[in-house]
C-alpha cells in the first residue's frame, strides 16, 4: 500500500471528516433557511419576495469568494507549479460558476415580480452575467485541452485574468449605467433581514467549501490514478 503511494507525486486524498462536514453543511443550510423564513416578517412592499434574497445574496457573495480562490490558486500554480493548485483552482472555478448561475437565475426570479421584467441592464446584473461568461469560457478551455500540464498553465492564466477583470468589468458597467440613470441601492437593513442574510451566507459558504473540496478530491484521485498507472507502465520507477 505504501509503495503504491510512492508511485504518485502526491497521495490520493482521503475523505476523512469531510463527508460529515458535508452532512452538517446541508443540515445547517436547512436550519438557516427555516429560521430565516420564520423570523422575517413579510416585507411591506415585496411581500414574501425578499425570502429569495436569502439565497440570492449569499450565492453572489460566495461566488466572489470562489473567484478570489481561483485567482489565489492560479497564481500559486504559476509560482510553484504544483499540479494540486491547478486542480483546486479548477474546483473553485466550477463551484463559483455554479453559484454565479444560481445568482443570475434567482435574480431573475426576484426581478420579474419586483421590477416587472426578467432582466434589467443594471450594473450588478450585467457584470454578474459577464463574469459568468468569462468563467464559462475558462471551463470550456479546460474541456478543450487534454494535456494536463498545458491545461494547467493555460487555465491558470485565464483564471487569473478573469478574476482580475472583475473589478474593471463592474466599474465599466456601472459607469455605463450611471450615465443614463441613477442606480438605486439598499442602504439600511432591517435587523431580522440582516441576521437571516448572515445565517444563510455562512450556510452557502459551508456548502461551497464542501463542494470545492469534493470536486478537488475527485480530480486529484483521478490524477493519482493516472500517475500510478504511469508508474506501473514504467515498471515501478518513481518520478521522485
Amino acid at each position: 500500500m505504501t509503495s503504491a503511494v510512492a508511485n504518485s507525486p502526491f497521495e490520493a486524498p482521503k475523505s476523512g471528516r469531510w463527508l460529515l462536514f458535508g452532512w452538517l453543511a446541508f443540515a445547517y443550510l436547512i436550519a438557516a433557511q427555516a429560521i430565516s423564513i420564520a423570523i422575517s416578517p413579510p416585507d411591506r412592499d415585496m411581500g414574501d419576495l425578499q425570502k429569495i434574497l436569502y439565497i440570492h445574496v449569499p450565492a453572489a457573495w460566495n461566488m466572489g469568494i470562489c473567484y478570489f480562490l481561483v485567482a489565489i490558486y492560479s497564481m500559486r500554480y504559476l509560482w510553484k507549479r504544483d499540479e494540486r493548485d491547478d486542480l483546486k483552482a479548477a474546483a473553485a472555478a466550477e463551484v463559483g460558476t455554479l453559484l454565479n448561475g444560481l445568482t443570475l437565475v434567482l435574480g431573475m426570479i426576484w426581478g420579474r415580480p419586483t421590477w416587472g421584467v426578467w432582466w434589467a441592464w443594471d450594473a450588478r446584473l450585467t457584470s454578474t452575467l459577464v463574469m459568468f461568461l468569462i468563467f464559462a469560457g475558462y471551463l470550456a478551455l479546460r474541456a478543450f485541452v487534454d494535456e494536463p500540464e498545458r491545461r494547467a498553465q493555460w487555465s491558470a492564466a485565464a483564471g487569473l485574468f478573469g478574476a482580475i477583470n472583475y473589478p474593471i468589468v463592474y466599474m465599466s458597467v456601472r459607469w455605463w449605467r450611471t450615465l443614463h440613470q441613477v442606480q438605486s441601492t439598499p442602504d439600511t437593513l432591517d435587523p431580522s433581514y440582516a441576521l437571516s442574510l448572515r445565517l444563510n451566507a455562512f450556510a452557502i459558504l459551508f456548502i461551497a467549501i464542501f463542494f470545492i473540496r469534493r470536486r478537488y478530491e475527485a480530480a486529484l484521485t483521478e490524477r493519482v490514478a493516472e500517475h500510478e498507472l504511469q508508474a506501473a507502465v514504467l515498471g515501478g520507477s518513481s518520478r521522485g
Binding site: L78, V130, M131, L133, I134, A136, G137, Y138, A140, L141, F144, V145, D146, E147, E149, R150, Q153, W154, A156, A157, A158, L160, F161, G162, I164, N165, I168, V169, M171, S172, V173, W175, W176, L179
Partner: protein, 228 residues
C-alpha cells in the same frame, strides 16, 4: 543589450507577419471586406431610420472591427502552425516575450488598418460627420485597438492550439473585452454623435487603465502560454 536584441527579434517577427499578410491575397482584403459586410448588416438590423442608425454607429463599428479582428488573431498563429514554423520559432534563443511583442505589433497594425476602413465606411453608411475633435477620436481608436489586440493576441496563442479553436477564442475573448468595448464605444459615441466631453475623458482613462494592466499581465504570462 539584451533588451535591444529582444527589440530586434520583436521587430523581425512583426515584419515577417506583416509581409506574409500583405502577400497572401486572401489576407487583409478578405477580412476588411468582412468588416464592411458586418457594417452593412448592422445597417439592415437597425432599420432605415437615420437617427437610430447614427446613434448605433459607434457600437456597430467597434463590433465590426472586433469580429473581423478575431480572424486576424487566430490567423497570426495559424500561419505558424500551417507550415510547422512554430517549432523553429519557439526554438530561437532568447525570451519568448519578444515573439509576443512582435505578434502584438503586427496585429496592432492590422486592426488599426481595419479600424480606418471601418470608420471611413461608417461615416458614409451611417451618415455621421467627422467631429471637430477628431484628434481625440484618434486617441480613443488607438487605445481601443491596443486593448483588443493585447488580449486577442494572448488568448489566440492558447485557442489556436486547442481543439475547437474557432469557437474557443471568441468564447474566451469577448467577455474579457467587455470593459474595452464599453469604453471604446461610449467614448466614440461621445465624440461622434455628441454628449458631454468629460464622458469621453472618463472612458478614455478607463481604456488607459485597462490597456496598461493587461499589457503588463500578458507580457508576464506569455511564457506560460506559449511553452509546452
Amino acid at each position: 543589450m539584451a533588451l535591444r536584441d529582444e527589440w530586434h527579434r520583436a521587430r523581425a517577427v512583426a515584419w515577417k507577419d506583416l509581409t506574409a499578410e500583405r502577400r497572401s491575397k486572401a489576407g487583409f482584403n478578405a477580412v476588411a471586406a468582412l468588416a464592411v459586410t458586418i457594417l452593412v448588416l448592422f445597417g439592415f438590423a437597425l432599420g432605415p431610420d437615420s437617427e437610430a442608425i447614427r446613434a448605433a454607429a459607434p457600437g456597430a463599428l467597434w463590433l465590426a472591427a472586433l469580429f473581423a479582428g478575431v480572424l486576424a488573431f487566430n490567423r497570426s498563429y495559424q500561419m505558424e502552425l500551417d507550415g510547422g514554423a512554430l517549432e523553429p520559432l519557439l526554438m530561437y534563443p532568447g525570451a519568448r516575450r519578444a515573439l509576443f511583442a512582435g505578434k502584438l505589433m503586427a496585429n496592432f497594425v492590422f486592426v488599426l488598418l481595419l479600424l480606418v476602413i471601418v470608420i471611413a465606411t461608417s461615416l458614409v453608411l451611417f451618415q455621421v460627420a467627422v467631429p471637430p475633435t477628431w484628434p481625440a477620436l484618434l486617441i480613443v481608436v488607438l487605445l481601443g485597438a491596443v486593448g483588443l489586440v493585447t488580449l486577442g493576441t494572448f488568448y489566440a496563442a492558447m485557442a489556436s492550439r486547442s481543439r475547437a479553436r474557432e469557437v474557443l477564442l471568441p468564447l474566451l475573448l469577448f467577455p474579457m473585452l467587455v470593459p474595452v468595448l464599453l469604453a471604446a464605444i461610449q467614448a466614440t459615441k461621445a465624440l461622434l454623435v455628441g454628449g458631454a466631453m468629460n464622458d469621453a475623458g472618463a472612458w478614455t482613462s478607463l481604456l488607459v487603465a485597462y490597456d496598461v494592466i493587461f499589457l503588463i499581465l500578458t507580457f508576464l504570462a506569455f511564457d506560460y502560454v506559449i511553452e509546452a
